[in-house]
């Protein structure tokens, strides 16, 4: 008899995340994989793997979140904002402000003392100031995303990158390279531009509230450090930051 209580899947623009939880909300198995545009096929395959890993039956509820949530058959569809909040509160058990920089959008969520969403901000027009922005610009600088920490200059040495529009910023970076700016200084400038954008989205965060971070960009210590500088506060990166949304989705299975 399996202990699987529910399954959460988070179909993001960059990666597919999924996990199975037991009745106490503990993760029994998980999968993270680059997103495939054939969403249904990828979901069916990875769900089958998760079910095989945990012995979960087809009766176990599946809660879908992420931009692809409506493309798959699921017991319920819940937005990323609610799921990230649930996942975060399950880990921390306290109110705070959660920053999730996803592939396509960035969210800043105020979490209340009961684990509810009190308010949220989200960019809704384009990929400016998102993970995709970072990916495209760093690719242009030939810096692997997971090694950016080793390729940025020190604080105060970054060049100013004014745009967080992915297209404009890419042109700006090309022009900075042409002017002979150091790649490391440009990389810091890019991270600082993204941090400024997120910081403006976050607005004035009450001092007593801790800051948390989830999403794939939270795996990048350089980005977290620069964002903390911009916000003037330390940021706690949640465990398995990429999985927080899927975990929250699974936790939503209980109603």
């Amino acid at each position: 008899m399996s202990n699987a209580a529910s399954i959460g899947i988070d179909i993001g623009s960059t990666s597919w995340k999924g996990c199975v939880v037991d009745s106490k909300g503990r993760v029994m198995a998980s999968r993270i994989q680059e997103s495939d545009p054939r969403i249904k096929e990828q979901t069916a395959r990875l769900l089958a793997e998760l079910m095989a890993d945990t012995g979960a039956s087809s009766q176990v509820p599946v809660i879908a979140t992420g931009y692809g949530r409506k493309q798959v058959e699921a017991t319920r569809q819940v937005t990323e904002i609610t799921c990230h909040t649930k996942g975060c509160f399950h880990q921390t058990g306290k109110p705070g402000v959660l920053i999730d920089i996803g592939g396509q959008d960035t969210k800043v969520i105020h979490i209340g003392p009961k684990g509810s969403v009190l308010d949220f901000q989200m960019n809704d027009k384009c990929a400016a100031g998102t993970g995709r922005f970072l990916e495209v610009i760093l690719q242009r600088l030939r810096i692997p995303l997971d090694q950016v920490g080793q390729h940025i200059s020190s604080k105060g040495e970054g060049v100013k990158v004014s745009s967080t529009c992915t297209v404009f910023a890419e042109s700006e970076v090309v022009s900075l390279v042409a002017q002979g700016a150091r790649v490391e200084a440009i990389a810091r400038g890019v991270l600082e531009a993204l941090a400024a954008r997120v910081s403006s989205l976050a607005g004035k965060v009450p001092e007593q509230l801790p800051l948390f971070m989830s999403g794939g960009v939270a795996l990048n210590p350089a980005m977290v450090a620069i964002l903390a500088e911009a916000l003037g506060r330390p940021i706690t990166v949640l465990d398995n930051p990429q999985l927080v949304g899927a975990h929250g989705a699974a936790l939503s299975g209980g109603g």
């Binding site: 904002i81 396509q104 969403v117 809704d124």
Partner: protein
């Protein structure tokens, strides 16, 4: 009845002129009294962009940009003239560009309404504006405006507004796409025909008598903004588990002004109806009065949250919004602000924001 059918019926059966009217405040009663069909131009949302739209900067509101395109199209040839109320700078700019450089050579009328509370000088000014427009339209149509005709038209519109108000908030009935479609039909429908359609709808409507938020029921929203476009917003709200229970859209609820006892003098009656309109930045209403109005609407409709839905670059509306958001939130009303273009679909990100907002409201209800 479509807009084209309404125009054709007016020409063939009532033999009257057709006047394109820009948003949003103009004395429609005068037009009705002079047998002029008002066809309002809120865009329209579904124009095909050509070079005409490029005459206006991309950061100007889409109602203006789309209108430029529409007025240059073949479809606009059905219109006999245009009326520009003094709503905002962008529309005033359009009036200039259109006639000085653009593709419009038919009559253009202007109606300048005062901004701010109707004190004595503003009353005098407004009365003169009503009379000036009436004279111009009389000359244009060749019709004579008798006081009796004007009184009848005012009574008709006053009655219409009373029914529109009922359609917006009868005994707990909530707004859905059908009601909105009917409410917006008045943008081109002859008033008497529209009135009959609303009466018919009210007679046949099935009413949800619940006036309270209830467990398992949809989230109750006060919706405010300029014009409910794209119309997919209502379906997105329904799918997300929310319904509008009170309306302050400039194109809908913000134009309803039923006056119980109309003054006998028709120009005084026009002024009384103008004064009874809900507060709107396009008429220079103070933001505090507007906040008070929104709070009162939210409370009386038992709304749990507010959706402020602006169209991009609408300056009069944008100017007040930060203050409105802050004050409503301080009064414990969750507020979602979103901006859309006129046409097309609701983007996935906007739909997600709407859904997340509704989830937040319903979660707050569950947790008390």
């Amino acid at each position: 009845m479509t807009r084209n059918e309404a125009i054709s019926t007016h020409r063939n059966q009532r033999h009257g002129k057709v006047l394109a009217c820009f948003p949003m405040q103009y004395p429609r009663e005068l037009l009705t009294a002079l047998n002029i069909l008002a066809v309002e131009v809120w865009g329209p949302p579904d124009v095909t962009p050509t070079h005409e739209m490029a005459r206006i900067q991309a950061y100007v509101c889409p109602i203006v940009r789309h209108s430029m395109e529409f007025l240059a199209s073949k479809e606009a040839s059905q219109l006999d003239g245009i009326l520009f109320p003094h709503t905002c700078d962008s529309l005033q700019g359009l009036a200039t560009v259109l006639t000085d450089f653009g593709p419009w050579d038919k009559p253009v009328f202007h109606f300048t309404h005062p901004k701010g509370p109707l004190d004595s000088p503003r009353r005098t000014f407004l009365r003169k504006e009503f009379q000036h427009l009436a004279t111009q339209l009389e000359e244009w149509t060749g019709e004579t405006l008798t006081l009796e005709k004007l009184r009848d038209a005012i009574a008709l519109h006053n009655h219409l507004d009373s029914l529109r108000g009922t359609l917006l908030e009868p005994t707990g009935q909530t707004l859905g796409p059908l009601q909105y479609e009917l409410l917006r039909r008045g943008e081109f429908q002859w008033p008497q025909t529209w009135l009959e359609e609303i009466q018919e709808a009210l007679a046949g409507v099935s009413v949800d008598v619940s006036k309270e938020a209830k467990e398992g029921g949809p989230a109750r929203l006060l919706v405010s903004g300029i014009v409910p476009e794209p119309q997919g917003i209502f379906e997105a709200l329904r799918q997300a588990g929310a319904i509008p229970v009170a309306d302050d859209y400039a194109a809908i609820g913000r134009r309803i002004c039923h006056v119980e006892n109309l003054p006998d003098d028709p120009f005084d009656a026009l002024m009384a109806r103008y004064e009874a309109l809900p507060p709107c930045p396009t008429r220079g209403a103070s933001v505090d009065r507007r906040i008070g109005w929104l709070l009162e609407r939210a409370r009386s409709a038992k709304a749990e949250a507010v959706l402020l839905h602006n169209i991009t670059f609408c300056e009069p509306e944008m100017f007040d919004l930060p203050h409105i958001r802050r004050e409503l939130a301080a009064q414990g009303l969750p507020v979602l602000y979103m901006e859309t273009e006129l046409g097309g679909e609701l983007s996935g990100q906007l739909a997600t924001r709407l859904e997340a907002f509704v989830e937040m409201v319903l979660d707050a209800r569950r947790k008390g």
